[in-house]
Subunit: 360 residues, 4 copies
């Protein structure tokens, strides 16, 4: 049995880790830490985990003795404990933003704090970094918006098809965490739509970092809060550099398209794009490319680790729309963390996270 | 492998059967029938079942050759096919109301139609009829409201503690099924509460049938529609026949209380009631009795087969409140149907249905 | 122009007073006080009041010089300022619970605090106390649950038709006020139903006080939180003392029914009940009795001062169901406060509060 | 008294016209037509209009004898009756799409039907066409998305500041009308986000028509359905042609900026943009430009005729975000229709439509 510890288990991502790990055949939850709820049964805080014997503990970092340690701690807190956790010999999967940036100054600029313990980590998006994750001791689990946005746009950047991407995301309220504030007060956010951090959300540079690896694409990101509990619906708008005529096969030699004349044949381009995405993700168990004419529904992935991508349409102005949906707490957080654990431990990658979404 | 057929798989209960059975290690889905969607891939109708190869088929009843047949058909339709399905040699679990009533005239009165094929069936509530279900060829899966209401009140009736029970239920909208109507139109039922069939809902006599087996208790039932997708929250109000003094132990000799003087000691009575419930359900995996002071949350059972019961309080007028929550599509329909299948087939009763709820 | 001051204007009831009073032709808002938001424009806190020049002020109680003073302050706070406010010569309409109880010990028991300034006040439910309100200097504006529950049951108590009433109320979340807490956090209360203070809500004794004036009826009250922004849906269950035979006319001599044999004729009784309610409220502009067969919709009164009452049904057990709906912030708070002001000032009672609800 | 007729009064826009006109001091509703509900009291279909004596009538078009006729009929239906209605001598305000397009072929392409009675109409957006509306006999009331999108982008087009605009709109479900379908079924669209007609919504060319009047701007439009009853939240993304250095005053000579070098000073540009908007709408009663740092809330305009515009931010890529919010049934339909009527009849423009929104 692989022993795991969840550091900071009283929030939503902690709750999801517990819910999912309880069904994992190769794993035993050894500790769930919480300073605030020390000695409290887990089901008093997570009342859906009824019947479990788990109890929160307040234990010192250096006393944690587990194979895998999930740090479901806020950004700024993780960097204070991760080095010590690694010294215990366990491998760490950090769900905060503290280790996601390869350029430490980007982190410090956008998070507004000094990083006290920078170190190398693997960015935990298996669809890009699976091989690196296998060997990693420290995985930085991606942010929720970045997971949906990167998956939706990776083929566009890798094949140099667009120069600018406008990412208009709509998130459920659980993305804001378990702590209350005026924005997340039910009478405020029910029957409402709210844009926030319109140009200043720190998931913007995280998306930029990953998509900018392959081309000079510039990412513009704006998140919205919608009256949904879980899920991120990401609408990506971008203008195709070149619309392709029928003699070009996008799926084969896509880089060559850069200097081709604008085409009249939008339908062909659309099919090429769809095929490009299907090719990119054909071996990915958790990324589903929908057929032409289908648009993803947020509620199709509720509670699941799947990402659905679809809605590929190109309008008369050459704008391409690509839409992705994920559950922010699963593929956007705890499910992906378990996916990373499965890869790191050599388990079947889908173990404990392959349930379909709860719909309706 | 046990082969199963789902007759009428395009609705919500059909979708839930598919979702849950896909993870069942002992079962293979052989057919999912639908006249309307013949030859359509299942994921076109249930877009969360993305990646499955299942396809709807329109097959004749007598061609169905399966060990277990779930009839997720409307009331009035089931009775036309169940006899023929039983003749194929398969065992039938009927999710409609057609076989739930032991007195056929009650069915005909409340459903307003003549029953064309009355026959003996076992009422599929495992917490009462587990032994009968083991041997049954035809199980009538309970209604959603009755499941929550009977579990919440069974100890009261079996121990003759109350004469009248007022059941004020609040249901999510998925209980109305996948077909549209003006009531379930989003702009109508969002941000709204609606009472319907205030004294005339046909789940009333179904509750009465089961609770009335043990005493002369009279059930008064009123359902409400609340802006929730899934779940039934049942508030039961009843006046205790006798409030117990401290010399009486409710958990031991409860029938004897009938002629005891009203007590001053409401707290003792409350504790006795809680203990009575804990004793009643102590071997039930899917019924959780909450501790004193805890009230069930509907969202703790979302997507799960669990029933939580709690909220035991007695006010100065001697009114007892008992609250139960279930997911109407799982414990109230498809999950319970699979629980019945597990019992009928000798599988572990919890197989494929023991996931915790999705919260938040 | 009548000058008014709103003490404590930053919460929901303050916002509603401002919204409604801005359209009142006879009234000028002189002050809106707030300690926290001193000198802040009102539209920074109430962003729907866009374009208004109003600004919050932090002014001493004794400096308030207005004809009418609304105290939209929490219970426990009002009693500290009301005596001084009355000394300024203004009339006070208090929206807290501090002056609603005729028996001060009931207040102190249920609110858990000592009352520092008990004094006579008129209970501000115009449908009962209109004549007293006309002459009052201090009006205690009723609670939101009591407004809906008393209107729904007043004829039953006044005519001695029932001994016990079970009031099962479903409230929108704005009833909890503008301050955040874990219960009202969107991810917790969306898609959920929660019962709270199952037998211990302090609106229970307030309902009991008013309905108990006319008979020995005993009130049992349980509130529920539903995912609705505004509105209280009250389901009242009671067993009719006597079901009437056709020789009795409920609308004429209802007290005489007390000793009549149970009747078979439920339909006649139902009609009698409906007529009784229509008679009771026939001169009330804000109480609408629905026709036989109609049930109130919560969304029909959203944003309005109306109460709709309907759903009159009697089941085979003799249980009568009566349903009322109000907007908790309007008829249940600020709208009713303005209705009281209109009565106290001799304005037309409906001025500024006769808009229909916003539906859908 | 001005007499008005509402043709097709049983839908949501009909209901809003009734709700608002009931408080109009200069207007009497003479007829509300409905073929389906002939002789039915209005409050049976619009239960919030409780207490009114209005009754639906099925009357022939040529029998309508009113000063103002609102046609709240579906597109395709209006063009069959408007010519005859104009012959009665009444002025017509058409809420359908039938008369919104100056180029009839655009209408026929996007609506997919032949126009049987093309004629000149004034596009009823008072913020552009007030003078023309004063003299019009036929006003084409704008679509809901176009109202929000045009108001949010008019200054950008008129001052030639951008070449492309991406309009990502989020609408409440009432925009889909009162008729049911699978998409608007509560269990489907609650807790969900849905993109639809991603590049093919017919409000796209309507927005293009109006914004394209002043520059060569190209509009790309994608609507989303969010779980909100009322309201349209429009996020406009566009890349500024030139970011201005501090020597240029956007509010004075904005056309001259076209050939200016990109600037470093984003803050100045932002302030210029805000001032430009404030100048544009300074005499408009129903358009409120929010201060720097404020973003519009959808729920601030619920039930009101106001449009709030704000959120002006420019990111490092030169992308400008502008956000507008309206209530789709009021400023986006019936409220704007009454605003047009007020202008046509010489009433104060704000009569009967100047209530603040219902918040929370």
């Amino acid at each position: 049995m692989t022993e795991v510890t969840i550091v900071g288990g009283s929030g939503y991502t902690g709750g999801e880790l517990i819910r999912l790990l309880q069904k994992h055949p190769n794993v035993e939850i050894k500790n769930i830490t919480s300073r605030q709820y020390d000695k409290t049964p887990v089901n008093k805080i997570h009342p859906h985990i009824q019947g479990s014997e788990l109890v929160f503990k307040d234990i010192n970092t250096d006393k944690i003795d587990s194979d895998i340690i999930f740090t479901a701690t806020p950004h700024g807190a993780s960097m204070n404990i991760v080095p010590e956790l690694l010294e215990t010999g366990g491998k760490v999967i950090d769900l905060s933003g503290d280790y996601r940036f390869r350029d430490i100054s980007t982190y410090e600029k956008w998070y507004g704090i000094e990083h006290v313990s920078p170190m190398d980590a693997v960015y935990g998006l298996p669809e890009i970094y699976r091989e690196e994750i296998k060997k990693a001791d420290l995985v930085a689990n991606p942010g929720c918006f970045p997971t949906g946005a990167i998956l939706a746009n990776l083929p566009l950047s890798q094949n140099n098809l667009v120069d600018n991407i406008i990412i208009d995301s709509k998130t459920g309220v659980s993305g804001g965490g378990v702590n209350t504030n005026q924005v997340f007060h039910y009478p405020n956010c029910a029957d409402n739509v709210i844009a926030y951090k319109i140009i200043s959300h720190r998931h913007g540079p995280e998306i930029q970092q990953e998509l900018g690896e392959y081309s000079n694409v510039k990412v513009s990101f704006t998140p919205h809060l919608v009256p949904v509990i879980r899920g991120i619906f990401t609408t990506s708008h971008s203008f195709l550099n070149n619309l392709v005529d029928e003699n070009i096969d996008y799926t084969k030699d896509i880089d060559a398209t850069k200097n081709i004349d604008y085409s009249k044949n939008i339908d062909d381009a659309k099919n090429d794009i769809i095929n490009l995405y299907k090719k990119q993700y054909k071996n990915e168990q958790f990324v589903k490319i929908l057929d032409d004419g289908e648009t993803p529904n947020l509620n199709s992935v509720r509670g699941s680790n799947f990402a659905h991508i679809g809605g590929f349409e190109i309008d008369e102005n050459g704008r391409l729309v690509v839409i992705s949906v994920i559950d922010n707490l699963v593929k956007g957080a705890s499910g992906q963390a378990i996916q990373n654990m499965n890869i790191m431990c050599g388990f079947k990658e889908k173990t404990a996270i392959d349930s379909y979404g709860i719909r309706p």
